[in-house]
């Protein structure tokens, strides 16, 4: 019996609670459903989709680092068409909010993907990935360039009325500038952060441990950086933020919300504890009860500085 209202509103997007599973860390939902009750989550964000299927990068794609991991999956995905035909039917059954993440190598491709997916009813929002560090085209060439992020937001906005979220790169000096441009061009929210560029080298073979040379760093190691980015945006730009980066448990989730995140996404932790999302929802519940918080959204950005 719960008296805490965990619901969150972001643009036209209603979430029953703020806990989302992050893009690229849940596939299209089917495997993780064996371990967790997805209907208890705020929603899931699909693996990044591109217009055509992508094979992804050759192995080795991942390596563990202190309290973190590097990945260079290279946006391996089934493509928009197969996604609609084969993955949507399962997603329909889930009783949770579906956010579709899109990655592309040109502005036109972003627009094209959004157009096609826009007609799929159960997709309730788009998260535009302009910040993948692991592909040659698109990715950070867009994500670290203010102008490109503005153009992409503007063009995608023009083809959908669904909630539009832009997923920002942390590999920049002033992330708030990027949030500002998203707001100005009509985006509904930003997600922060995608992974940090990192690498690791085998000292015996002298080869990068990841075939792609660099990868994206995720996990608890990056939490302080992610939190600082969320706080920076919150203090400078009036736009809803979805906080991501190193969240392992409900305490981390609350920390992001206090720093300014309206909702949060969990990525790496799903690999270790696929039930983490549900446990976080429960932990938030208990925290709110302890602190006599009736409406969770009241804590968003409630830092005392």
């Amino acid at each position: 019996m719960s008296f805490v209202d965990q619901s969150i509103q972001i643009g036209s997007l209603y979430l029953k609670n703020p806990v989302l599973l992050a893009s690229g860390t849940v596939g299209y939902g089917n495997e993780i459903a064996q371990f967790t009750d997805m209907s208890k989550l705020g929603g899931i964000v699909t693996k990044s989709l591109s217009l055509k299927p992508r094979k992804g990068n050759p192995p080795q794609r991942i390596v563990e680092t202190p309290s973190g991991m590097l990945n260079a999956i290279g946006l391996a995905n089934v493509g928009v068409e197969v996604f609609i035909k084969e993955k949507i039917p399962f997603l329909k059954e889930l009783d949770t909010t579906i956010i579709c993440n899109i990655a592309a190598s040109s502005i036109d491709e972003y627009v094209e993907c959004t157009k096609i997916l826009n007609s799929v009813d159960i997709i309730q929002a788009f998260e535009i990935n302009v910040s993948c560090p692991n592909v040659k085209e698109g990715g950070l060439i867009f994500g670290n360039d203010l102008n490109s992020v503005g153009r992409i937001t503007e063009k995608v906005r023009a083809v959908t009325k669904k909630t539009l979220i832009i997923k920002l790169s942390p590999n920049v000096s002033r992330i708030a500038d990027f949030a500002k441009v998203v707001k100005d061009e009509g985006g509904d929210a930003v997600s922060a952060i995608n992974t940090l560029v990192g690498t690791a080298i085998d000292i015996w073979t002298r080869k990068p441990k990841i075939k792609n040379v660099t990868g994206g760093l995720s996990g608890p190691a990056i939490k302080p950086v992610a939190l600082a980015k969320v706080l920076e945006i919150k203090r400078k730009v009036d736009i809803p933020i979805i906080g991501i980066g190193g969240i392992m448990n409900w305490k981390d989730a609350i920390e992001f919300m206090i720093a300014g995140a309206s909702a949060i996404q969990i990525g790496t932790v799903n690999f270790i504890n696929p039930n983490a999302g549900v446990e976080i929802v429960e932990g938030i519940e208990t925290y709110c009860e302890k602190c006599s918080i009736g409406k969770l959204s009241d804590i968003v950005g409630s830092y005392q500085i």
């Binding site: 495997e31 050759p58 192995p59 794609r61 991942i62 563990e64 990945n71 996990g219 799903n270 270790i272």
Partner: protein, 252 residues
């Protein structure tokens, strides 16, 4: 698939640096098949971050056995577990060996810690199959014959059995089995699997190999564990489509 808190029942050293861990894990024990694996959280803290994958070595009622080498920090921590400790295990994972086909002799080829999955396979083989185990190691101290039968041995340094790799030895002795229908089950370092793959494809012998790859999740959500398909135009996932593959299916 389950996530089970498994109590350590015993842990012993088999040969220097190789351990056998026995845990009480009834749910997973009731389902897991030879060649499948589990993804194990070696500590109670968030460090090391990722789980560690280990093949199922043996099932004994409600108990699972894992056989492992101390390789880095994760396996060092695992080796220091004591009776009564609880370990968080996710499994069963992946596709195991197919061993109920129409063949007469099961030939097992294991290099080093590649021996790990075979006690359970040997135990599970239909009673009408003959078994021959080829076991290779660096030196006689590294030969792990736990749970094996009908053994031929090779060592790199010649300190026990044939001097050379286990695949070289098998190739020499293959004549023996030539007239029978055989099925090969192999696990070990990549160069050995590669040599074996070449040989078995050339001779058109059935051969299943258990492969390894760095993994984050172990159950198909991270896309971290690709292996080239035979044509080289796409990937399988080692954790979901493998770790056991027909040797004809993949490029090593």
């Amino acid at each position: 698939m389950y996530i089970e808190k498994a109590r350590v029942d015993s842990i012993q050293t088999l040969v220097p640096n190789t351990y056998l861990l026995k845990v009480f894990s009834p749910l997973i024990a009731s389902k897991i098949k030879p060649g499948q694996f589990c993804n194990i959280k070696v500590s109670e803290t968030d460090y090391p971050l990722l789980r560690r994958p280990f093949s199922i070595c043996e099932v004994d009622g409600n108990y699972l056995h894992f056989m492992f080498d101390v390789h880095g920090e994760g396996t060092r921590i695992l080796s220091s577990k004591i009776i009564g400790d609880e370990i968080d295990i996710l499994g069963p994972l992946g596709k195991g060996f197919t061993y109920d086909g129409v063949y007469k002799t099961a030939i097992i080829i294991a290099g080093g810690i590649g021996a790990a999955p075979f006690p359970y396979l040997v135990e599970s083989l239909p009673k009408d199959k003959e078994v021959h185990c080829y076991i290779g190691g660096r030196s006689k101290n590294n030969i792990i014959d736990y749970g094996m039968k009908n053994i031929s041995v090779s060592t790199d340094d010649g300190s026990l059995g044939y001097k050379g790799t286990i695949v070289e030895l098998f190739k020499q002795e293959y004549e023996k089995f030539k007239k029978d229908s055989v099925s090969i089950f192999a696990c070990g370092p990549n160069p050995i699997l590669k040599a074996l793959q070449e040989f078995t494809i050339a001779k058109n012998i059935d051969c299943q190999i258990s492969t390894e790859c760095a993994m984050a999740c172990g159950f198909g959500i991270c896309q971290g564990c690709p292996i080239d398909n035979a044509d080289g135009d796409g990937y399988y996932l080692v954790c979901k489509d493998g770790p056991v593959f027909d040797a004809r299916m993949v490029r090593l």
